[in-house]
C-alpha cells in the first residue's frame, strides 16, 4: 500500500496555507509533519482526511484491493476528542467502533489504552488525558491502514505517550502507516515533511 501526494495547494480564506506539497509513504512508515504554527500542519491532515478541500494537486492511496477512498481508510485524531459526556466510556467506544467499521475490537482496545476499569463511568468524569486515551482507543478498535494524528501527545502524560508509541509500533508492524503533526519527538524514527518558510 502506497500513499502519494503531489502539487498539493491549500488556500483557506484569503490565505495560501501551503502550496505544491508532495510526499510518498508506504506501509510500515511514519511521516512527521513539522513547521511553525500556522504553517498548515493541521490543514494538511484535515485535507488528507477529506475534511477540507485542496485548491490544487492530488492525493492517491494505492490500496491494492479495496476501492474505498482515503478518508474511508483513515483514522483522524484532531485536537478535539469526539466523546459525549453523558455516555459512558464503553458506550462512547462501542458507538465509534460500530460506526467506523464494526468488529469486536472495543474490549481489547479498552485494555490496550488502560481504561478497562472505567468502562461504566460516564465520560464526563474523565480527565483530559483519559479522554484523549479513550478517543485514541477507536484507532485500536477498528482496523484502518492510515492514521492521521494532529499533535496526539498534547494531552497525554509520560505514561500515556509511552502507551501511544507502543500502539503506533503495533500498527506499523501490522501493515499500517502514520502521518503525525507534532512539535516534539514522537519516540519513533520517521520521515519528515517540513511546512512553512524555512526559518
Amino acid at each position: 500500500m502506497r500513499l502519494s501526494a503531489s502539487g498539493l495547494t491549500c488556500i483557506r480564506g484569503m490565505r495560501v496555507v501551503f502550496e505544491n506539497i508532495g510526499f510518498e509513504l508506504s506501509t510500515g512508515e511514519v511521516m512527521t509533519v513539522i513547521g511553525p504554527n500556522g504553517a498548515g500542519k493541521s490543514s494538511l491532515l484535515r485535507l488528507m482526511a477529506g475534511l477540507i478541500r485542496a485548491s490544487a494537486g492530488r492525493i492517491e492511496l494505492e490500496a491494492g484491493d479495496s476501492d474505498l477512498s482515503l478518508p474511508e481508510q483513515a483514522h483522524y485524531q484532531g485536537h478535539l476528542d469526539p466523546l459525549k459526556a453523558s455516555l459512558t466510556v464503553a458506550e462512547n467506544l462501542a458507538f465509534w467502533t460500530s460506526y467506523l467499521g464494526g468488529g469486536l475490537g472495543a474490549e481489547a482496545a479498552l485494555v490496550a489504552i488502560g481504561l478497562e476499569g472505567l468502562a461504566d463511568l460516564p465520560a464526563a468524569y474523565l480527565s483530559a488525558g483519559q479522554r484523549r486515551r479513550l478517543s485514541l482507543a477507536r484507532l485500536v478498535a477498528v482496523q484502518r491502514p492510515v492514521w492521521l494524528l494532529d499533535e496526539p501527545t498534547s494531552a497525554l502524560d509520560a505514561a500515556g505517550q509511552a502507551r501511544l508509541a507502543e500502539l503506533m509500533r503495533d500498527h506499523l508492524a501490522g501493515g499500517g502507516m502514520i502521518v503525525a503533526a507534532t512539535h516534539g519527538p514522537l519516540g519513533i524514527e520517521a520521515k519528515e515533511l517540513r511546512l512553512g518558510r524555512v526559518a
Binding site: L115, L118, S127, G129
Partner: protein, 244 residues
C-alpha cells in the same frame, strides 16, 4: 439533635431511615380516616355527589403552591445560607410538586366536567394552576440540562425565587383576564365548605396528602444524596485510575 446536625448528609440519611417508616404509617392512617370520612360525607345540595372530587382537588391545588414555597425556602438555603442539603431538597421536591399540580388540574377538570359539559374551561383558578404546572416542568427541564448538581442547583434556585415572586402576579393577571372576558367566574370551586361534615374530611385529606408529600420528599432527598454519592465515587474512580 441540633438542626444544624442534619446538614451533614450522613446523619441526615440516618435521620430519614429512622423517621421514614413512621411517616409511612402515619400517611396510611391519615388516608384511611380521610377516605372513610369522604365515603360517608353527604352530597352537596348544588353539585350532588361530585363534591367528593373536591376532597382530592383542593388538597392537591393547595399542595402545588406549598411545594413551590418549600422549593423557594430551599432556594434561599442554596443562595443565601449555603446549606449543603438545600439544593437536594429543591431538586427532589420539583417532580412531586409537578405531580400534585397535575393531579389538581386533572381532578379540577373532572370536577367541572358535569357543570361545563367539556373537560376544560379557562376558569381563572384552573388556568393559574396550569401556568404553575408549566413552571414546574420548566424547572425540571432546567435540572435535566446541567450535569453538575451545584451549578444546576444555583440556576434552579434563582428560577424558583423568580417564579415565587411572579406567582401572585400571574394569579392576579389571570383573574383579571378571566373577568375581562367572562364576568364573574360562573363556577365556584368552594361548594358549601363550611359545613363540618364537608370540612372535616377535607382537612383530614389535606393532612393525608401533606404527610404523603413529606414522606415522598424525604425519600426523594435520600435518593438524591445517594445519587450524589455515586457521582462522587465516579470522580474518585476516575481520579484513582489516573495514576494507573
Amino acid at each position: 439533635m441540633a438542626l444544624i446536625d442534619l446538614a451533614n448528609p450522613t446523619r441526615f440519611l440516618a435521620f430519614i431511615a429512622r423517621v421514614l417508616p413512621w411517616l409511612v404509617v402515619a400517611t396510611a392512617i391519615a388516608f384511611a380516616i380521610g377516605l372513610y370520612l369522604v365515603w360517608f360525607s353527604p352530597d352537596d345540595y348544588q353539585q350532588g355527589a361530585t363534591v367528593k372530587i373536591m376532597f382530592i382537588h383542593v388538597p392537591n391545588a393547595w399542595l402545588s403552591m406549598v411545594v413551590w414555597a418549600v422549593m423557594s425556602v430551599a432556594a434561599l438555603g442554596t443562595l443565601v445560607w449555603r446549606h449543603p442539603l438545600a439544593d437536594v431538597a429543591a431538586k427532589s421536591a420539583a417532580p412531586l410538586g409537578a405531580a400534585f399540580t397535575f393531579l389538581a388540574l386533572l381532578t379540577g377538570s373532572l370536577w367541572g366536567r358535569p357543570m361545563w359539559g367539556t373537560y376544560w374551561v379557562w376558569d381563572a383558578r384552573l388556568t393559574s394552576v396550569l401556568v404553575l404546572f408549566l413552571m414546574y416542568l420548566g424547572l425540571i427541564a432546567l435540572w435535566r440540562t446541567v450535569e453538575d448538581p451545584a451549578r444546576a442547583g444555583r440556576a434552579a434556585a434563582i428560577l424558583t425565587l423568580v417564579g415565587a415572586v411572579n406567582l401572585p402576579i400571574i394569579k392576579f393577571s389571570v383573574d383579571w383576564w378571566n373577568t375581562l372576558h367572562q364576568g364573574a367566574s360562573v363556577f365556584r370551586m368552594g361548594g358549601s365548605a363550611i359545613d363540618p361534615t364537608i370540612l372535616r374530611p377535607l382537612l383530614v385529606m389535606g393532612l393525608a396528602f401533606s404527610l404523603l408529600f413529606l414522606t415522598l420528599h424525604l425519600a426523594a432527598m435520600r435518593n438524591e444524596i445517594l445519587r450524589r454519592r455515586v457521582r462522587a465515587l465516579w470522580l474518585m474512580q476516575a481520579h484513582a485510575a489516573q495514576g494507573a
